[in-house]
């Protein structure tokens, strides 16, 4: 099914999507409608234009592909499924996500992956092709965030300030020659070994296939791994894990 979203209110677009039973739906001329595909399961959605805030919030399976940019809070609290964004995304991408995969080809704004977690067997993952703003992975409790820094100037950090501040679970991978400048002693930062890279190979394969990038050259570049320092954790402040 094809939906022309020109001039459509977000409620109307939501009704349209919910009432349609097709497994593959296209939305054209999207312009700022919020909450698209929130809680959606097991369907493929393609969007042309600029979807509004909270695209794929609580997504519970299936996939969304945006042929353009996403705004704030894409994949907010998503549980399963995959979101592909061909352009950039705004602030708080993958906010509190607890499963599924979010792949953004371009840059993301502030607070990507804030509060993301792993839950049972599900491990939330975010891959950012470009650079990320400040507070990436703030309060991260689980899951994996990868920043590839494609197109970023050499010798510049691929993330803003306060990366991983307050994180107590999960990992952040940064493809960069230099680590973030302002890490605290509560985070361990080390160069990625082969085993670390193998751990993210499936994610990078997906990214490269979707966005036509070269897997080998990515895997051959230097990565940094950030994880909570077991010696000096916030863990005691929160519920046991």
């Amino acid at each position: 099914m094809k939906i022309d979203a020109t001039g459509m209110e977000y409620e109307e677009l939501g009704r349209c999507l919910r009432s349609c039973t097709d497994s593959h739906v296209q939305i054209h001329n999207c312009c700022g409608q919020r909450y698209i595909a929130s809680g959606m399961q097991g369907r493929e959605l393609e969007i042309w234009g600029t979807p509004g805030n909270a695209l794929g919030a609580y997504l519970d399976g299936g996939s969304i592909r945006v042929h353009g940019n996403a705004q704030d809070a894409v994949g907010d609290t998503m549980n399963a499924g995959t979101i592909w964004v061909e352009g950039r995304a705004g602030d708080a991408a993958g906010y509190a996500m607890r499963g599924g995969t979010l792949m953004i080809r371009g840059d993301v704004g502030y607070r990507a992956g804030v509060h993301m977690k792993a839950f049972g067997d599900s491990c939330a993952s975010i891959v950012i092709g470009g650079t990320a703003g400040s507070f990436l992975g703030e309060y991260q409790a689980g899951g994996v965030i990868v920043v590839l820094g494609l197109g970023a100037p050499e010798g510049q950090p691929v993330v803003g300030g306060f990366c991983g501040r307050g994180m107590y679970g999960g990992r952040i991978y940064l493809r960069s020659t230099i680590p973030p400048r302002d890490l605290t002693e509560k985070i361990l930062c080390r160069r990625a070994q082969q085993a670390d890279k193998e751990a993210i190979r499936p994610l990078l394969e997906q990214f490269c296939t979707a966005f036509d990038e070269d897997l080998d050259s990515l895997l051959n570049s230097p990565f940094w791994v950030l994880e909570p320092n077991p010696e000096n954790q916030y863990k005691a402040l929160y519920a046991p894990m």
């Binding site: 977000y10 312009c31 700022g32 919020r34 234009g49 600029t50 509004g52 805030n53 940019n69 705004q71 704030d72 950039r88 705004g90 602030d91 840059d107 704004g109 502030y110 703003g133 400040s134 507070f135 803003g160 300030g161 400048r181 302002d182």
Partner: protein, 364 residues
């Protein structure tokens, strides 16, 4: 009416701006379409616009836009204006009745010049004379509120959704090189005509998405310098803070951004010299004017516009370019709605100002 802090209405806001670097006129209809996309960010309790270059026929006169509660207030204000200004032209601001905009006050416009002998006797420069007169009207005359007083610019605002406010003021009949817009969802403070954005003093206007935590500290600071915050909203104090730093202290826009959205001490400590020394000076000298809490603002002024986020970037803001046009908005969709094809779009970092000027201003 209850004052700032005595009422709480939880909420967000929307801002939008468009600027023509080549000075080409943009219809008010463009900014209306842009802000309308973000309808859900407002709740109908305030909408407004500021246009620059809209009064070329009176470009050397101060354009006063005034709300009156009643005719008595108008008569009293006009007596005050006659004592202090040469009024070249006065009229009601043209409006279009719409059921969506209710309880309109009397809305008048005056094109004025300070009376030369009054100005000379005051020993003030012209702008300060006008600013003091306006602050006096707003503070002391009951039922009068001057909400716009710059040259060749004007603010149009009301209680309602911004697109309805644009229809009410017949915004499509105006053309300017620069427009800002606001959709209000009041936080903490009442939705009333005077509380709608933009807030303006002289040619400076501010639209604001956010709620500032430092309101009272900032208010106490600017009231020491003769400003009066009695319009029941936090954005008013941002306007006066910027006016004080720019017009009285002579700071540049970049320096003003470093004062109101100063980085953390830890970030300052990591900066190279001599930049660090300069930044520390501003941070210490004007510590009362640091604005904390979430904000994204658009500041309109004669010949330019500045966009600025709080240092933690707690509100969204995107900037885009297409040819000589520069667009600003809380959401990308608000830009795409009026310019689908863009040369460049990006989100500036917290505390990092984006400043655009007319090409002819840059040459000066």
């Amino acid at each position: 009416m209850l004052k700032e802090g005595q009422v709480r209405i939880p909420s967000g806001c929307a801002i939008s701006g468009v600027f023509a670097r080549d000075g080409q006129p943009i219809s008010g209809e463009v900014i209306r379409r842009s802000i309308a996309v973000m309808h859900e960010r407002s709740n109908g309790l305030g909408g407004g616009f500021a246009g620059y270059g809209i009064y070329p026929q009176y470009k050397n006169h101060y354009a006063l836009h005034v709300f009156y509660d009643d005719m008595t207030a108008r008569e009293e204000c006009e007596r005050f204006l006659d004592r202090h200004f040469d009024v070249i032209n006065l009229s009601k601001i043209p409006t279009r009745p719409t059921p969506k905009i209710k309880d309109a006050p009397l809305i008048w416009r005056y094109f004025v010049q300070p009376l030369p002998h009054k100005l000379a006797d005051s020993h003030l420069d012209e702008k300060e004379y006008v600013a003091r007169c306006v602050i006096r009207i707003n503070d002391q005359l009951k039922g009068c509120y001057v909400f716009s007083c710059g040259k060749n610019m004007g603010v149009f605002k009301a209680v309602g959704y911004p697109e309805d406010v644009a229809d009410f003021y017949r915004l499509e009949e105006y053309e300017g090189y620069s427009w800002t817009a606001h959709g209000r969802y009041p936080t903490n403070t009442p939705g009333w005509w005077g509380g709608a954005h933009p807030f303006a003093l002289l040619d400076l206007s501010v639209v604001h998405n956010g709620e500032i935590s430092s309101y009272d500290a900032n208010r106490r600071a600017v009231e020491m310098y003769g400003y009066r915050c009695n319009l029941l909203t936090d954005t008013e104090v941002i306007t006066y803070t910027l006016d004080y730093l720019l017009r009285h202290q002579g700071l540049t826009l970049e320096e003003v951004a470093q004062v109101v959205a100063a980085p953390f001490w830890s970030e300052l400590a990591a900066m190279p010299q001599p930049e660090q020394k300069q930044r520390r000076f501003l941070r210490q000298m004007y510590s009362d004017l640091l604005i904390t809490g979430p904000f994204s603002i658009l500041v309109g002024f004669e010949g330019g516009m500045m966009a600025l986020n709080d240092r933690l970037k707690l509100r969204s803001l995107v900037v885009a370019e297409r040819g000589d046009r520069v667009y600003f908005a809380s959401e990308e969709a608000a830009i795409r709605a009026v310019e689908p094809e863009l040369d460049r779009i990006w989100a500036p970092n917290g505390g990092e100002p984006v400043i655009v000027r007319l090409k002819e201003e840059e040459r000066k």
